[in-house]
């Protein structure tokens, strides 16, 4: 099981702030493919953070991970 977090326009597109995924995709890349298909959203320009650290596509996932989908930030 892993937890997915969505923010900003992604949260509106997905319709959820937090989603529990019962299984654990192998990598960030695999998870992204699944999320794209399930919610029919583009993840272009979207960064991923695993447990509050930015993560590349090749990073492997572990049970219990919290994975955040981070659209281009616009703070400041």
């Amino acid at each position: 099981m892993i937890t997915l977090l969505f923010f900003a326009h992604l949260q509106e597109a997905v319709g959820e702030e937090r989603v529990i995924l019962p299984h654990v995709p192998k990598t960030v890349k695999e998870l992204k493919e699944e999320v794209k298909q399930r919610y029919r959203i583009s993840l272009e320009q979207v960064m991923v953070a695993v447990n509050e650290e930015y993560a590349g596509d090749e990073q492997t996932l572990q049970p219990g991970d919290i994975v955040a989908f981070i659209p281009p930030v616009s703070g400041g």
Partner: protein, 156 residues
């Protein structure tokens, strides 16, 4: 020091309070950056803004920026507060305060902080115009991150 130097808050920001965190007898130069809600952008009128953050990670990234600054400018001390929630025109969204014995460092580190905030801190701004709303996209526009994350080098 148990005061928190890097803060995300949903309350109005006290400029004085942020500045006080970096004031020191050995630092004669203090720079601040104050980001306020702008009413007019290219002729278009903003009514108010809404900021949202991934709060725990945003504070963590602010602390990381603090560490990057400590490496580059060891004598500088920095404090950053960013507000979230609804902000009206003229209200303060972010305050960055840097003190240093040397004014060059105080300017450079401050500038570095705001650029890094706009790269790596998970905060999003929703513009409320007269005719609708919009989540503001990547301010670097066509910037792509081939590694899937922003690199420190992107700033240079």
């Amino acid at each position: 020091m148990n005061e928190r130097l890097f803060v995300i808050t949903d309350k109005p920001i006290s400029l004085e309070e942020v500045i006080q965190k970096v004031m020191r007898p050995e630092a004669g130069a203090v720079t601040t950056f104050i980001g306020t809600v702008r009413e007019w952008t290219k002729g278009k009128r903003t009514l108010f803004l809404q900021y949202e953050a991934y709060v725990s990670m945003a504070e963590k990234m602010l602390r990381q920026i603090g560490e990057e600054i400590r490496e580059k400018w060891p004598e500088a001390k920095v404090a950053i507060t960013h507000r979230i929630g609804r902000l009206d025109i003229g209200e303060i969204a972010v305050v960055i305060a840097v003190s240093s014995p040397h004014r060059n460092d105080a300017y450079a580190a401050n500038r570095y902080a705001i650029e890094r905030i706009k790269q790596i801190v998970p905060i999003w701004k929703k513009e409320h115009w007269e005719d609708g709303t919009e989540w503001v996209g990547n301010q670097l526009e066509t910037k792509a991150y081939p590694t899937g994350r922003p690199e420190e080098e992107d700033l240079r």
